[in-house]
């Protein structure tokens, strides 16, 4: 505790230092405002504001706001955003000036504009590294499974991102686990990002505005997970007119409505999807014993915003999604996320922008077997969290942009509430709720030292209190790798601190501009993770639980360094980057052999702490403009673990380790009506655990590995080719509605891509001793699909 007081003092001491430097910018004036899309009034995130006279500028923040302080004078300011027509403003600055800009989409003007529109060199000039952005239009063009544009499957085509295999939930970033990604939907965490296991993600692309994946150099404002931040921002809704869009696909139907509440002041967007394969299948199942089975998933996204005045704007957004699998009327299981976010943007003055976010997030699953009243089993589990997060950006001067703020998250973990009836006798077990409070304070400054050298340095102080009321156990200490049994317990009262952790997380980024087209960047970040996804299966599944750090589970920590070279060619038509990284993970959560992870009061005794390391090189080449564009991404990487009690206490490759990972994504616009897309994905086969000998006990043939190997054999390489073609409706002047048909073919090469192997005994007859090994492919065929999309 002493340490924490000291750190807090340092923290408080540092902050005024930043403010004191305001002194020297007295006399400066500010140009500030919002940058928006001309057509819909949606704010634009990350638009460039470049002041020619000072050869410097800024970018709009996630709310579209920008601010730049300059000496009085005359300036030429360029406003630019990828895919939009740039605007140049002459501004005579003799008082603080508010300039709101609306940019028009390049493509909507004239055909040749697309070709000649100047591409941005933001990837070279910005400080950010290890960051990938995907705009929703790109996501919608990528050929997809069953023709449904999918955010998570799209980011898997980016460098440094992989997956354990087809159908696996989530994604892996730079050798980190699925549970080490912080997936944010309008700032609220989403605990399970998949529908139908890992086949579709929970984000409705029609309602998404911007997607940013941060793999390294993670700014101080983010924390709580080791490997990445997936920051998904929802659209705000059309500020100018009513519009609707939607689609009818093979698996979902989608509908999105957006409209102003008060024109140019407030708007809303409402988007929903539902799968209907079960309805289509009904004629075929009606006569079977599955006539009452139901399998569907849906999600609803709602967001509204209102500009109270020039200085205040509020946003309310919510997401509700659910997967339902019912075997019959009374039995089945379901899971889903609910999030609600309320945000308030407040401008204290032209230079001090603030946002206050309050959110609620809940992930739960429920299942029930038996419905005759004599024999039943039901189980509910959930993780609820409430958070408040004030953030401030202080635009000190063109050379310093200060961000600071904090966050507090209160967690309520409900691992299991079960009730069971066996032969008419009723029993129940409810595991104690576990509570935690994660809090953080951060401060960071982005400083331009010279036109060539930019730094961002920050510090995040994070704390976690594992709280009562709960029973805290002390466990024995057997040989590592074996189950630990409780030896004593202690009761703690409501909100009493059982265990406290604190971490100081330094963050650092630097960019050195070699010339207009070239820069080198480096970064370091330390991350701490206080809540853990508990899953020892190949792919994460909906029944996985999250658990807090406790007196027996230490927080996971990671240190990452990255170095990158960024270069653009041919007037920014091409952008290229090479990055190398090394990541070290401490207190990684692993599991004993045969761990019992569900409904286990003594779960902590089945967990192990280990170390992880991941390193690699990422190559990325992207063609931004022209009729033919796309990207190539190649990652050479390793992801390894060392856990006492596993693999003979030696380093082993993690289940999602892939030495080579290549993606090629290409788009070709043939003419006004036809666009073709293709993507090719290749990766080294992931490692599986193979036995080498057999034990025969009581007639069972049990696989055994003499050297206790884990992940010792690679499954064959994965590769897949997908195509799609989009047919647009003929463009006519003054036609407001638009529609298109998407024809897609997934897995054109008809490859049975192996997912894993398993070992078994031939089941032809009982007492067979003949062992067999099989390779499983989740999809073993070409999957064609057609979907229709409209907009008006």
């Amino acid at each position: 505790m002493k340490v924490s007081v000291k750190l807090l003092q340092i923290f408080l001491f540092i902050s005024p230092l930043f403010f004191s430097s305001t002194a020297y910018c007295q006399g400066k004036l500010t140009i500030s405002g919002y940058i928006k899309d001309q057509g819909s009034g949606e704010t634009l995130i990350g638009a460039t504001v470049y002041v020619e006279e000072i050869e410097n500028g800024t970018v709009s923040n996630v709310y579209g706001f920008y601010s730049i302080s300059l000496d009085p004078g005359e300036y030429t300011v360029n406003y630019r955003y990828v895919g939009y027509e740039s605007q140049v403003k002459k501004i005579v600055l003799n008082e603080n000036t508010k300039v709101d800009i609306e940019l028009g989409e390049a493509g909507e003007q004239l055909e040749e504009v697309v070709v000649t529109a100047e591409a941005e060199n933001a990837n070279v000039t910005s400080l950010e590294m290890s960051v990938n952005k995907l705009d929703i239009k790109t996501i919608q063009q990528i050929p997809s499974l069953l023709g449904e544009a999918d955010l998570i499957r799209s980011i898997q085509l980016l460098p440094g991102v992989s997956t354990a295999g087809e159908g696996a939930s989530g994604f892996n970033v730079r050798g980190g686990g699925v549970g080490q990604n912080l997936v944010l939907l309008d700032e609220a965490p989403v605990y399970n990002s998949s529908h139908l296991l890992g086949f579709f993600s929970v984000f409705n692309p029609d309602a998404v505005k911007d997607v940013k994946l941060i793999k390294g150099g993670i700014p101080a404002q983010y924390g709580g997970r080791l490997s990445s931040i997936l920051d998904v921002r929802m659209k705000e809704g059309n500020m100018k007119k009513f519009s609707a869009s939607g689609g009818v696909g093979t698996i979902f139907s989608r509908l999105t409505l957006e409209a102003p509440i008060v024109k140019n002041k407030g708007s809303f967007i409402l988007a929903g999807r539902r799968s209907y394969a079960d309805i289509l299948a009904r004629p075929f199942t009606a006569s079977t014993s599955f006539s009452d089975a139901a399998l569907y998933f849906y999600d609803v996204t709602l967001k509204s915003n209102y500009n109270i005045d020039e200085k205040n704007r509020i946003f309310l957004s919510g997401y509700f999604g659910r997967d339902v699998f019912n075997f019959d009327e009374g039995q089945g299981f379901s899971w889903g996320n609910t999030t609600t976010t309320l945000r308030w943007n407040h401008l204290f003055n032209e230079r001090l922008f603030s946002n206050l976010t309050v959110f609620y997030s809940d992930y739960d699953y429920a299942l029930k077997f038996g419905d005759d009243g004599e024999d039943e089993f039901s189980w509910d589990s959930r993780i609820i969290n409430y958070s408040i997060k004030p953030e401030f950006t202080y635009y000190l001067n063109p050379n310093n942009e200060l961000t600071f703020g904090g966050q507090a998250i209160f967690y309520d973990f409900k691992p299991a509430e079960t009730s069971a009836i066996s032969d008419g006798e009723v029993g129940s077990i409810t595991l104690d709720d576990k509570y935690g409070l994660e809090s953080a304070l951060y401060i960071a400054n982005q400083q331009t030292l010279s036109p060539k050298l930019t730094l961002q340095y920050g510090l995040r102080l994070s704390m976690f209190n594992y709280l009562g009321s709960s029973t805290a156990y002390e466990f024995d200490n057997p040989e590592r790798g074996e189950r630990r049994n409780p030896i004593s317990s202690q009761e703690f009262g409501g909100l009493e601190t059982i265990e406290r952790y604190m971490n100081l997380e330094p963050r650092f980024n630097v960019k050195y501009q070699l010339n207009d087209n070239e820069s080198i960047k480096a970064s370091y970040n330390r991350m701490a993770q206080y809540i853990h996804l508990i899953s020892n299966t190949t792919a994460s599944n909906p029944l996985d639980v999250w658990t807090p750090s406790t007196n027996n589970i230490a927080p996971q920590k990671a240190d990452q360094i990255a170095l990158g070279y960024f270069r653009n060619f041919k007037k920014n038509q091409y952008e290229a980057s090479v990055e190398v990284y090394y990541k070290k993970i401490h207190d990684l959560v692993d599991y004993i052999d045969g761990a019992d992870l569900l409904i286990n009061e003594f779960l902590e005794g089945d967990l192990l702490a280990g170390e992880g390391r991941a390193y690699g090189a990422e190559f990325y080449l992207k063609k931004n403009t022209g009729k033919f564009n796309g990207w190539i991404s190649y990652t050479l990487a390793r992801s390894e673990r060392l856990v006492e009690g596993i693999n003979n206490n030696e380093w082993y490759a993690s289940r999602f380790d892939q030495l080579h990972n290549l993606s090629v994504v290409a788009f070709y616009e043939l003419n006004e009506r036809w666009t073709f897309s293709g993507n090719f994905a290749y990766n080294t086969g992931t490692p599986n655990t193979f036995p080498n000998s057999r034990i025969e006990v009581q007639g069972y043939v049990i696989p055994h590995s003499n050297n206790e190997a884990r992940n010792n054999v690679r499954i064959p390489d994965y590769y897949r080719l997908d195509f799609s073609a989009t047919l647009y409706r003929k463009k006519k002047p003054n036609r407001k509605n638009d529609s298109n048909w998407v024809f897609s073919i997934y897995n054109v090469l008809n490859r049975e891509n192996p997912f894993s192997n398993y070992f078994t005994v031939s089941d032809e007859f009982r007492n067979s001793r003949e062992t067999q090994a099989f390779q499983v492919a989740i999809f073993g065929s070409i999957i064609p699909a057609v979907s229709y999309n409209f907009k008006f």
Partner: protein
């Protein structure tokens, strides 16, 4: 917990197949490096009459389906905490037996036992205890319509009640017409009245999936599902008490051998090594595998009778 997953995902797969997410699989023949053979102790003694048997053999390569090499010439004995020693004789290579003239067993309730094997100068030891096993009240047979992918036919379930007090563990062994239901998917174990320690379901009648875990699901030559039982079949259910360690061993065996493939591959944990309770020269060793357990056994038999609607 594996059992629990299997039940959940069995249904999941059935339902998924409606929307034609179908996986496929191919048999492969990987080359697995041959390794040092290990000593296997297979010693599951029980209170039933008849001879008590301990098998000793050596492990072989995983894909080698030939007979495992037997261990001959070991001296094998079991002693109890009352000071009695029961010497096992090698009846045939690798098979060590003990029998009384009246064919009764020496395994008695709440007695602990020490296994001692001397082989090639090494001493192999293990301890176990014969714990309580509940009486089976009845075996009920019903005739059911096809439901949720299970065929129409005769289904059995046994009724028995777990003892009050947490931590009783059982292995329910079922025989259909004297054939032991030995498929990995038919391993039926219970921790108190349910699947796992965390289930905390103590002192109740065994939960439904355990009671119904006595039904074999086989296919005929046309891959049509067969009714678990038909009139005239004889079902025998035995409840073997186990030590907690042996329960976890069996749980691992079920987890490692009952692998289904298909979409379930998404939810498999990696394979790992089973534990053993056998020590070599009083120390843990990775040169020995297998298990020593002593069980009290309760059983019941029933002949399936025709049920007319």
């Amino acid at each position: 917990m594996k059992r629990f997953f299997n039940i959940v995902f069995y249904h999941f797969i059935l339902v998924s197949s409606i929307i034609s997410i179908q996986s496929c699989e191919t048999e492969i023949e990987p080359e697995l490096a041959a390794l040092e053979p290990l000593i296997t102790v297979d010693a599951w003694l029980n209170s039933m009459s008849g001879e008590q048997v301990i098998h000793l053999a050596k492990t072989t390569a995983y894909f080698d389906s030939s007979e495992q090499p037997k261990i001959s010439g070991a001296s094998v004995s079991v002693s109890d905490n009352a000071g009695n020693t029961f010497v096992f004789d090698e009846a045939e290579p690798g098979k060590y037996t003990w029998a009384r003239a009246d064919s009764s067993s020496f395994i008695t309730l709440n007695t602990s036992y020490n296994l001692e094997i001397v082989y090639e100068g090494d001493l192999y030891t293990a301890v176990s205890e014969a714990r309580r096993s509940p009486v089976i009240d009845s075996i009920m047979v019903e005739r059911r319509e096809e439901e949720l992918g299970q065929p129409e036919g005769y289904y059995a379930q046994f009724f028995a009640k777990d003892f009050e007090g947490e931590g009783d563990t059982y292995w329910i062994r079922t025989y259909k017409n004297d054939e032991f239901l030995s498929k990995p998917s038919e391993i039926n174990i219970a921790y108190d009245a349910a699947f796992s320690a965390g289930g905390n379901f103590d002192g109740f009648t065994f939960i439904n999936p355990i009671r119904e875990g006595v039904n074999p699901f086989d296919e005929d030559e046309n891959e049509e599902d067969l009714s678990p039982y038909v009139p005239g079949d004889r079902i025998r259910v035995e409840i073997w008490s186990t030590t907690e360690e042996a329960f976890y061993f069996l749980s691992d065996v079920a987890n490692l051998t009952n692998r289904e493939g298909g979409i379930q591959a998404l939810f498999e944990s990696p394979i790992y090594n089973t534990t053993t309770n056998v020590l070599v020269n009083n120390e843990e060793s990775d040169k020995v595998v297998g298990f020593f357990n002593t069980s009290m056994v309760e059983s019941m038999e029933k002949v399936i009778e025709e049920i007319t609607e």
